[in-house]
């Protein structure tokens, strides 16, 4: 009986807020893009350039899917850049020194990455050391492991053996233009949809939010906090491994020194997209938009002929601005 009058009111408040939350970063992306359409040369607004932006976003984007989950849970993972490098090295090593096919090599790279994510998760939950410190340590450990496997050098792979690995992020050839986007970008899109659904509709996803929002409460209510956390870091590692696969596809060598500092771009993407380092907040759509904003700035600045340092200053300013706007919005609603 009392349900009836309740429902419309519930609908209204719910929609308004979630609409504002998701639309904010999207508006920012459109604004940034619009500015560059105006000031950059005509080549900026072409379909070809859009494809390029999508390709360039993919590595950060894939890694950011896992990071979004970690940040929602109230944690952080600084080892992502190193894991990307490790993944490229493992893939190259498998291709070069064992007879495996590309798929097995790719799975091997991702599995190695997930393994290190698992280690991070175990250390965080078992030793009760804060994620910042554990993953800071892991950042060095993994980087070292990558260098060890590669004996401090890049691992070259016979181009014959690469096959589809080479094409993940390559610009589409004419005869396959029906795909619209390179396969790597599709992988990102499909994974993103999957992760968004996981966060929204599964116990794991909702428990991740609950832990980030109030860990004690989650524990009190029977959420297996430790298990969820281990899983979250393992997944973050796996996504970093996948980002490594993309990276390998672009480089076609295993490079233990690649992606230094990438974790900061990844974290920036999450934060621009509305993720809160305090936990409990963040969304996949926001994260992707955040990653896109950074690529659009980079692409626009390049085409406009701005030097690298301008790009960096603009990106830095956007990060701070995004979080400041977020804070403002919160002060008003709470």
């Amino acid at each position: 009986m009392s349900d009836k009058p309740m429902t419309p009111k519930a609908k209204r408040t719910f929609n308004w807020r979630s609409w504002l939350n998701t639309i904010g970063p999207v508006l920012a992306l459109m604004a940034v893009y619009g500015v560059f359409v105006l000031i950059a040369p005509p080549s900026f607004a072409t379909a070809r350039n859009m494809e390029m932006i999508a390709r360039q976003t993919t590595i950060v984007g894939v890694a950011a899917l896992g990071m979004t989950m970690v940040i929602i849970s109230g944690g952080i993972d600084l080892s992502v850049g190193s894991i990307v490098a490790l993944s490229t090295v493992v893939i190259a090593w498998l291709l070069r020194y064992t007879g495996v096919n590309p798929l097995t090599a790719a799975v091997g790279g991702v599995a190695a990455a997930a393994f290190f994510g698992l280690i991070s998760g175990m250390l965080i939950t078992r030793l009760r050391v804060v994620p910042f410190i554990v993953t800071l340590g892991m950042m060095l450990v993994v980087r070292g492991a990558a260098k060890g496997i590669g004996r401090e050098q890049k691992i070259d792979v016979d181009p014959e053996r690469l096959r589809w690995l080479e094409e993940l992020l390559a610009s589409l050839p004419k005869e396959r233009s029906w795909m619209l986007l390179p396969p790597g970008v599709w992988v990102l899109i499909i994974l993103a949809v999957g992760m968004a659904a996981l966060l929204r509709y599964t116990r794991l996803g909702r428990h991740t939010f609950a832990i980030g929002s109030n860990e004690q409460t989650a524990r009190l209510c029977g959420v297996a906090v430790e298990r969820v956390k281990v899983l979250v870091y393992t997944m973050c590692g796996a996504f970093a491994g996948l980002a490594g696969l993309m990276q390998f596809s672009r480089l076609t060598v295993g490079d233990p020194t690649v992606a230094v500092g990438l974790e900061l771009n990844v974290i920036a993407a999450v934060v621009i997209g509305g993720g809160s380092l305090g936990g409990g907040e963040g969304s996949i759509l926001g994260t992707l938009v955040g990653a896109l904003i950074m690529t659009v700035i980079a692409s626009g600045c390049t085409q406009r002929g701005y030097p690298n340092w301008v790009q960096e200053i603009v990106t830095g300013a956007i990060i701070v601005l995004a979080v400041a706007v977020d804070r403002l919005r919160h002060r008003r609603t709470v």
């Binding site: 408040t13 807020r17 939010f209 109030n214 009190l220 409990g280 609603t333």
Partner: protein
């Protein structure tokens, strides 16, 4: 109802027998026994530190008793953590609500027990069960999709109760549930407690508002210093008798009061308004007096002190402190001779990882060495004086504050104001969470400060004190004003008011003149 309880032993739902608990050297509980029947409300009353919360933490699995036994519906009950207790059907609603603010109402209610297929939550069922649980409350603010951070405190509490109901709890423990509620919410809560009673839940109600206890409870158990000192049907005991049991000593000697001589007005505010609270506050504080501010939690008392001290913005109004007018930053306020004792000792009042000496001297690191140097030996020397005078129990000035007891920590925080030698002391809940002995010392100290000592050349100070504990305000203050919903009422002489009239004013009811 009373006959059913007495005649039918099998209806005893929760029984705790001879529970003992020590924390280090302090005895928190000593041979405490209680029992609650199904469909009964047992009130647990006692002063702060009497052991109410510890007892209930034992019952809800958060604390393990050293000895003693418990039964739930006749079967032995031994929870090793809160989760186990909840699964057994004992849910505790803490004073600080434990909700996940970022999630919505239905998610909070069903947290940790979401029905799911292969990990995918069955949202329809979640919604249904959540609506089932909140339906009873009949509160328009409570809808399944509302984010919990957007709810009022009263409604948030209902979400917690709904969660307890959704797991099918048999015993519901409410720890000071009304301390931060509006009068309306309190009424609503009482109504809900009545309904839960009818459904046969056993309810343990912790409170130090005795009038509430008389209204809502069937039986009452009084705790004092970790012992159960009384147990009775609510109808067979008067409020005065309960108070006597709670206090168990002469109240007079707890609150010394020497001949204070109010002097000139040293702090004057007129129509002060902050960002949200206070909405309007005016008062005059004289040298040599203690002015108390009563009111409910959330009425804006803390905000008043904080905006006076420059920790929160001042939107409107006039402030005069001594010869200085207008708002000022905390740095300025210290220089002008005012000091604030924060209600949040651990987070704000003290740098707990630093030493006692560092904390005492933090606000004025001057005069501890030549050329502006801060010599530890001189800090220690200055601090030792206060260790002695305030009877601060510690190994020495270099011991870290975090290892002190709550009472000693509070004395350290107070010592800072004394070391700084401020003229106006803004004290926010100065006795929160400290034991009776430490309280007595704080009261003695406040009295000594307000009186001054002409022989030792100490001028009387002015004290503005916020407290939620009315007996304390009645005992310590010369005058008292009540804050209600952000507005500070007129100042009354202490002999013109009583606890009852203050409470009425605090809850926004008209005081009959």
């Amino acid at each position: 109802m009373a006959e059913r309880v007495d005649s039918d032993q099998s209806s005893i739902r929760l029984q705790m027998r001879d529970v003992c608990k020590r924390f280090g050297a302090t005895v928190a509980l000593e041979d405490v026994s209680i029992e609650v029947a199904a469909g009964q409300v047992l009130a647990l009353v006692g002063e702060n530190g009497a052991g109410k919360s510890t007892l209930m933490k034992v019952c809800s699995g958060a604390v393990k008793a050293d000895s003693g036994r418990m039964w739930l519906d006749g079967t032995p009950y031994r929870p090793s953590n809160p989760l186990e207790a909840r699964r057994a059907g004992v849910a505790m609603i803490y004073q600080e609500l434990s909700l996940t603010p970022h999630l919505n109402v239905q998610e909070n209610i069903m947290l940790g027990m979401e029905p799911a297929t292969l990990g995918v939550v069955r949202w329809k069922q979640v919604r249904q069960r959540a609506i089932e649980a909140i339906k009873e409350f009949d509160n328009p603010e409570l809808t399944p999709d509302t984010r919990v951070s957007n709810l009022s405190v009263g409604s948030q509490q209902l979400v917690e109760i709904a969660r307890a109901l959704a797991i099918g709890c048999r015993v519901l423990v409410l720890d000071e549930p009304t301390s931060s509620l509006t009068q309306q919410d309190v009424e609503r809560l009482f109504e809900i407690i009545g309904r839960l009673k009818q459904q046969g839940k056993a309810i343990v109600y912790i409170s130090h508002f005795i009038e509430e206890v008389k209204r809502v409870a069937d039986r009452v158990t009084v705790l004092r210093d970790g012992r159960a000192v009384g147990n009775s049907d609510v109808d067979d005991i008067t409020i005065d008798e309960i108070v006597a049991l709670m206090v168990g000593r002469q109240v007079e000697e707890l609150y010394p009061r020497s001949g204070r001589q109010p002097g000139e007005v040293i702090l004057e505010i007129e129509d002060l308004a902050g960002a949200e609270k206070p909405k309007s506050a005016s008062l005059e504080l004289h040298r040599g007096e203690v002015l108390g501010i009563a009111g409910l939690v959330g009425a804006g008392r803390t905000e008043l002190l904080r905006s006076l001290f420059g920790l929160e913005p001042v939107r409107r109004g006039r402030i005069r402190l001594g010869v200085y007018t207008g708002p000022a930053s905390p740095v300025r306020r210290w220089m002008q001779g005012a000091g604030l004792l924060s209600e949040d000792r651990k987070e704000e009042g003290l740098a707990v990882s630093l030493s006692v000496a560092d904390n005492v001297t933090l606000s004025k690191l001057k005069g501890f060495g030549p050329l502006g140097l801060v010599l530890p030996s001189r800090q220690d020397k200055a601090t030792r004086r206060w260790l002695e005078r305030l009877d601060i129990r510690c190994l020495g000035p270099r011991q870290s504050v975090s290892s002190l007891s709550g009472g000693n920590q509070q004395k350290v925080a107070l010592a800072r104001l004394l070391q700084h030698d401020v003229d106006v002391l803004l004290l926010d809940e100065p006795t929160r969470g400290i034991d009776v002995a430490a309280k007595a010392l704080v009261y003695k100290l406040i009295n000594a400060l307000a009186t001054g000592s002409p022989t030792e050349g100490r001028k009387p100070k002015a004290v503005l004190m916020v407290s939620s504990y009315l007996p304390e305000l009645m005992g310590v203050c010369d005058r008292v004003a009540v804050m209600c919903r952000g507005r500070l009422g007129p100042t009354h002489r202490i002999d013109e008011v009583n606890e009852h009239s203050l409470m009425l004013e605090a809850t926004g009811q008209e005081v009959s003149a």
